[in-house]
C-alpha cells in the first residue's frame, strides 16, 4: 500500500478482545479496512474485532474514538520498529 511509504510512524493497534461486544463500529469506520470481525468467540461469547495480518493502520484513531467499550489502544511507533 502506498500509504505505508508516506508515513513516518507505524501504528500498533491493540484490541482488548474480552472487553469487545462485537458492535462492529470500529470495523465500519476504519478507512483502510484494517479491522475485521473474528470468526472466534471471546469469553462473553461474541465475535470480537481483530486486526488483519498486514499492518495497514494509518493512525487516524477513528476506531479508538468510536469504540463504546474502550477496547482499543493505538500505539504510534517510529517507522523502523514496524512489525
Amino acid at each position: 500500500m502506498s500509504v505505508k511509504e508516506q508515513k513516518t510512524f507505524c501504528f500498533q493497534v491493540k484490541v482488548n478482545r474480552d472487553k469487545c461486544k462485537g458492535c462492529q463500529l470500529c470495523i465500519f469506520y476504519c478507512p483502510v479496512g484494517y479491522l475485521v470481525l473474528s470468526s472466534r468467540l471471546n469469553k462473553k461469547g461474541v465475535k470480537f474485532a481483530e486486526t488483519k495480518k498486514d499492518n495497514e493502520c494509518i493512525g487516524c484513531g477513528f476506531c479508538y474514538l468510536i469504540c463504546p467499550d474502550a477496547c482499543i489502544e493505538i500505539h504510534g511507533k517510529e517507522q523502523d520498529k514496524e512489525k
Partner: protein, 244 residues
Amino acid sequence: MKKSFLLPKSLKNVDTHYCSGCGHGILHRLVAQAIDELNIREKTIGIAPVGCAVIAYNYWDFDVSEAAHGRALAVATGIKRCRPQNVVFTYQGDGDLASIGIAETLHSANRGENLTCIFVNNACYGMTGGQMAPTTLRGQKTITTPLGRDPESGDGWPLKLSEVLSVLDGVCFVARSSMSNPQGVKETYQYIKRAFINQIEKKGFSLVEVLSSCPTIWQKTPIDALRWIEDEMVKEFPLGVIKE
C-alpha cells in the same frame, strides 16, 4: 497528528453493563479523558443519574456520588456550594434531566450554579425498557407511543432543552453534539473540555447535550442506530454551539 491513543487513567479498564454499541460507553471515556487532560482528577466529583448510567461510578476512577432520579443538579449544587474548590459535574439522561428532574435542571441553570452538566440525549428511557422521553422524535415508536409520538394528539413536541436553557442569564455555555461518527466524538470531547474549563474559570452553568445511540430500544444494529442519529435526530436537534 496525534501518535498514540491510550485509555484515560480516569477510566477503569473494566467491562461495562451497557449494551453493544451503546453511546454511554463513548461518553464515559470522553469525560475521563477531559478530566485527565485538565489534570483535575483529584478534585473532580461526578454525580451519576438514575437511568442506564446509574452505576457510572463503577467505571470512572474519581469520586462520584449518586442522586435520586432527576436530582443530580440539586445534589451537585449542594456539593459545589460546600466545596467550591472541587470541580463538580452531572451526567444525566434525557428522562433524568429533562423529565422528572426538569425543575432541578431549570433552577440550577437559572441560578447560574457554577457546574458542568452533561446531558445524554438518546430519545428514550433506556433503563426502564423504552418509554417515550421528552426528547422522543415525532413519529418515533416507543412502548408508550406504539403508533409513534404524535404531538397533535397530546404527546407534545420533542423538548429542545438546550435551546430553552440557553436563554437563561445564568447559563454561560450550551452546545449540542452527536457521537454518531468519529468527528462528532472529537467535537463532543472539545465541548466537554470547554464546559469543565468554564467551571474552573468560575463562569457559571455549562451544558453539553450529546446525541447518543441506544441500539437496544431503537431496535437497530449499532451501525444503523448511528445512521438514525445522522438521518433523523439531528433534524430535530441541530448540532453546534448554541450559546457561549
